[in-house]
Every structure is written in structure tokens, then in C-alpha cells.
Symmetry: C2
Subunit: 350 residues, 2 copies
């Protein structure tokens, strides 16, 4: 069996462990907010009727569970961390859709498109506050060691969540700033993506170990694995944002170019220099692009080497994530599963 | 000297203690977000030029400092808590202005009105994440006791912040829901205000004690003082929202009635029954109110006893806040100052 074929099992196992706790957390929201969160998570449709969806692959929650197992604890020790990272991730999706004015996600209207901007803002806020409550609630923390040790783990986990959230927000703010500048260099783009995507994956990959009371050095290595994995993932996402199959992504073709997002392939293509880069820069500076111009822009990004640069970046970051795992002293079976998840996330169809 | 005349000194002392830490916290924001936060806080104008404003009276930060002093610690022990509650308060103002589509606050354009909805959403998010970082950062916690004890205080403070934020958000969600229902009863209105205003004041009034390692029972009494003070404050705010002097409030006359907010005076007036209540209910259900109708609605709220009911509620809640102080074993000088602050907050011109 190819290693990544084992990953769906890992994701399912994590989901079965985390799902009841995530449902329990959402139950803590007020009756006004609960249906909006359930809709966003794919649990109910716009009318509140259960729809059987479960919202995404659940990579973040799986990393949190594996990260507890990687330091010798039960996967359930990572559960509050898994719930918290899923909540933060979904907070960011809901607010990013408002910010980017995206009206569709996973083939469904986004929360703001369906319920209005105000409600999307407030339910996102609620998920962020809830994430902190989940890791700081001493009763939710598994009883390994003394209550004081569990509280200490909770405080470290809360800091992990707060720091990752702050970095993610800074990345999003940088991304927004990129929209109003003509060009972005590759280093700036990677810094933005390390914040926007890497930070929370780093938190996910280390929070289980933190809750299990692992030393800082181990938590740090797992965090590095997650950040690098996030950069690999984002490079792939950037490729799919331009060349992804609209049926698979649920977004129109060349979606990111329509919004003139300065993603990695674009930044690399602009940096290449030459007439192709110049033509691309001019197009991205125009007030409006029609359909043939968008198609031409995608062609230019590819011709200027943007597509291959992003592919290489994804490969390099994956290698770097795997190297971070090998440097630390982890439970071998969990380390293998973390490596498999990394390959699975990156080796999508791009 | 009338007791509340001493309060400006207390507020100034707290401001001098907290201001550098608050500035330091805002410095931690990314360069894209810092100017937006500084603008909102009144530190700079729309062009980023320092404007010497300091944003509000700073009651919350003063409560946090006094709450540390009330349990025998230095006021500076409460500083990270003071910074955190000010950050959460300002997060909520920025997002509430988006939600309520308010384009002016304190005689200046609101953040969304000046910088757009997306930027207002993201800078609000950033302040919320920063609040958690501030209380969880072990280096920011004052060295009373062991590092483990300081971390424990940080975790308890973070939970205080997270719980208050969640309650505040639930209150705001309830307030939004009230906009689409014909009437709201007084109990529902008070539940909304306990969340929207009371929870964070309760947190402010107890977080200093929590950071100082006070027992739960003391923190709980201080929290009750703050929640009751919040309800008194909100009753006064509801009065000012209808009958406040536009020059003082920076809002148009009868502002809350224009937006058909179901505040306490309105809920009490609707509950009174009789032809006045019915006429008011009909007006509030109308699609649009013109200027004479808004004036008539304000008159009806008063005639139906809404104005006096809110005044009585403010008085009752102030008494209840003062009683909570007397029930607990606090340092007398700080307890007197807390009582003075409560009277000062409530005894505005209404």
C-alpha cells in the first residue's frame, strides 16, 4: 500500500475522536449563533436541516491528535487542542470570506452571503473566543498528571492558539495589503503564507504534545514540521487557485487571478523579469480584466516559470517538514503517520 | 469633596500605569494593522498624525488595577489584565460599528467607514488575539510568587478574558436578534445587557485579583460588582441613547430609536401595556420612521414609564454592585475607590 493511502484511516480515526468534542463546543454557543456555525461547518443546510456534511478533510484536528501520540500520550489528550485549532481555522474562513467578498465556499453560499456581514462577523468572533475557552477549561483537559500540570498544559496550549491566531491575522493583513501594491517579491509572499497558513498548522502539529506536557524543544520541532507543511500546502493551494479543476475546488477557473491575488506563482513569475513578466505586471495593474485577459495572465504566469517555481517550493517545504520530524525523538508509529499526512496534503492533483 | 470627584485622579493614575503597556501591546501588531488600531484608539488621525487623544475614560483599565490593589497586590500586577480588557473592549467597538453600520464614534469616522469593512474586521480580530497573548505571555506577568504561580494566574486571567468575550459576543448576537422581533421583554433585555456590557466589566473588576492569585470567592465577588456596575452603566447608556445631548454623546438625538434598538427604556415602555405601548409597538414595527415619528416614539417611551424604569434599574444595580464590594474582604482604600468609580460611572447626566 502506498503510504498516503493509509491517511484517510488516520483522518477518520481523528475525526471520530474529535467530532463529539467539537459538537459539544459548538453547543456552548448561544442559540442565535449555533445554527450559523453549524451551517458553516456543513452540518446543516441553510434552513437548519441536518445535511450530513462534516466540513473539510480535518487535517488540523488529525495533526493535533497525532502530536499527542507522537510524545507517548493518548490521542485524546490532544482533543481540546484539535477542537481549538478547528475553531480558529473556521473563524478565519468565515472572516476571510467577508474580507475577500467570496460568496461561495465548498459549492455553498458563504455565511455572509446567506446571513449578512454582521452575522458572519459575530459568529467568527464567537468561534475564536470559544477556541480559547476550550483549551483553558480545566474540566476538558484530560487527567494525565496533576490538575496543576493540566492547567499548565492548558495555559501553554492557549498561548499556542493565541500566537498562531495573531500570526495568521498578520498574514491575512499582509495579503490584503498586497492587493493594493503593483508587485510582491517571493520572500514577501512566503512571509505572508507562513503567517496565513503555516502558523495554525504549526500550532495544530504541536498542541497535542503541549497538552501532554512535552518539553519545549519537542513542541518546537513539531511546530516547525507544521509550519513547513503549511507552506507546502499553500504552494499547492496557490497552484490550484489558478489551475485547479473548478469542479474539485468549487471556485471558477483562474480564481486567484480574477481577484489579482499576489500568490507564489504570480510573485515568482513577476520576479523572473523579461517581456512576459512585464506584460503580466501590466495586466495585474489594470482596473478590470475580461475573460480572455485572465486566460492570458494564467498563460504568462506559467511561461515565466511561476508554475514550476511553486511546484518546487512545495517539494522543498515537504522535505523540510519531514526533516523536522526526523530530528526529534518521537514515537515511531505516530511519526510515520505525521509523515504520511504531510505527503497526503501536498501530493494533491496539481 | 464629593466622593466621585476623586475618581478622575484614580482614572489618571491607572492610565499612567497602563498606557505604556497598552502602547507596547499595540506595537506587537503587524505594520499593516498598527495604524488602524492607533486610529481607533484616538492616538493618531486618519493620516497617521499623532492627535493626542486617548480614547475613552479608561474605566475598564482602572477597575483592573484597583482589583489587584483590592487584594493587597501592587496595581501593576493588574496591568496585563487592564491591557487585555481594553483590547477586548476596543475589538468589540470596532466590530459592533461594522455590525450596526455606525459610521461615527466619538465625533470621528469609525474604522470601517474610513478603511473599509475588511480592514475593520481584521484589526478587530487582531486586538482580540492580542488580548489573549498579553495575559498569557509569562514575561509580562509580574514576579509575585513563583513562575508556576504567575503562569497559573495567567491561565486564570486568560479564562476570565475568554469567558467574558464569549458572553459579550452572545449578548451582541442577542441584541442583533432583537432587531428582527417585534418586542422584547425586560428580562430578555437585561440578559442581553448582562452579556454585552456586564461580562467584560465583571472581568475587568476581577482580573487584577486573579493575576494576584486571589481565591475564587474574592474574584467572584469582584466579578459580581463589575457585572452589576455594567448593568447600571448600560441602563444609563440606554437613557443617553435616547435622551442624551448629541454634543456630549457624538450621536444624533434619539439615536437608539432611529435604529429601533430594543433597549431597556423601550422594553419597559412596551411592557407597560395600554394605548401608549401599543402605539409605540406599531411605530417600532414600521419599515421607516421620519423625524416627527422618532420624536413621538421618544415621547411615548417616556409616557409609558420607560425612562423612569431605566433610571430605577440603574439605581438598583449600583446598590447591588456596592453591596458585592461590602460582602468581600478587600483592602479598604481600594474598596472605597471601586465604590467611587461605580458611582462616577452611573451618576452621569441622564
Amino acid at each position: 500500500m502506498i503510504p498516503t493511502q493509509r491517511v484517510p484511516e488516520v483522518l477518520t480515526r481523528a475525526r471520530e475522536l474529535v467530532a463529539p468534542a467539537l459538537r459539544g463546543a459548538i453547543e456552548r454557543l448561544s442559540p442565535e449563533l449555533r445554527p450559523l456555525a453549524a451551517y458553516h461547518l456543513g452540518w446543516v443546510d441553510a434552513k437548519g436541516v441536518p445535511s450530513g456534511g462534516d466540513g473539510g478533510k480535518g487535517v488540523r484536528q488529525a495533526l493535533a491528535v497525532l502530536s499527542a501520540e507522537a510524545v507517548g500520550a493518548a490521542g485524546s489528550v490532544g482533543t481540546p487542542g484539535a477542537v481549538a485549532v478547528e475553531l480558529v481555522h473556521n473563524f478565519s474562513l468565515i472572516h476571510d470570506d467577508v474580507i475577500d467578498e467570496d460568496s461561495e465556499r465548498r459549492h455553498r453560499p458563504t455565511v455572509w452571503a446567506l446571513f449578512g456581514i454582521g452575522r458572519a462577523v459575530i459568529v467568527g468572533d464567537a468561534l475564536l473566543a470559544l477556541a480559547q475557552q476550550v483549551v483553558l477549561d480545566p474540566e476538558a483537559l484530560d487527567g494525565e498528571g496533576t490538575p496543576a500540570k493540566a492547567r499548565d498544559g492548558g495555559a501553554r496550549a492557549a498561548r499556542c492558539i493565541a500566537d498562531a491566531t495573531a500570526a495568521m491575522i498578520a498574514g491575512q493583513a499582509l495579503d490584503m495589503a498586497f492587493e493594493s501594491v503593483p508587485g510582491v517579491d517571493v520572500a514577501g509572499c512566503l512571509a505572508m503564507e507562513a503567517g496565513k497558513t503555516g502558523a495554525l498548522l504549526g500550532c495544530a502539529a504541536s498542541i497535542g504534545a503541549v497538552l501532554a506536557g512535552a518539553p519545549d524543544s519537542t513542541a518546537q520541532a513539531l511546530d516547525t514540521y507544521g509550519v513547513e507543511l503549511g507552506l507546502a500546502f499553500q504552494a499547492v493551494d496557490d497552484l490550484l487557485g489558478i489551475w485547479g479543476d473548478p469542479v474539485a475546488t468549487g471556485k471558477p477557473a483562474w480564481s486567484d487571478l480574477r481577484q489579482r491575488k499576489k500568490t507564489l506563482p504570480v510573485a515568482a513569475a513577476l520576479a523572473a523579469g523579461g517581456p512576459g513578466s512585464e506584460e503580466l505586471a501590466e495586466m495585474l495593474a489594470a482596473a478590470q480584466l475580461d475573460e480572455p485577459q485572465i486566460a492570458r495572465a494564467a498563460q504568462l504566469v506559467e511561461q515565466c516559470g511561476g508554475r514550476s517555481a511553486a511546484r518546487e517550493e512545495a517539494g522543498r517545504r515537504l522535505d523540510s517538514a519531514l526533516a523536522a520530524l526526523e530530528r526529534s525523538d518521537l514515537v515511531p508509529s505516530a511519526a510515520v503517520e505525521l509523515a504520511d499526512v504531510a505527503r497526503f496534503v501536498v501530493e494533491r492533483d496539481y
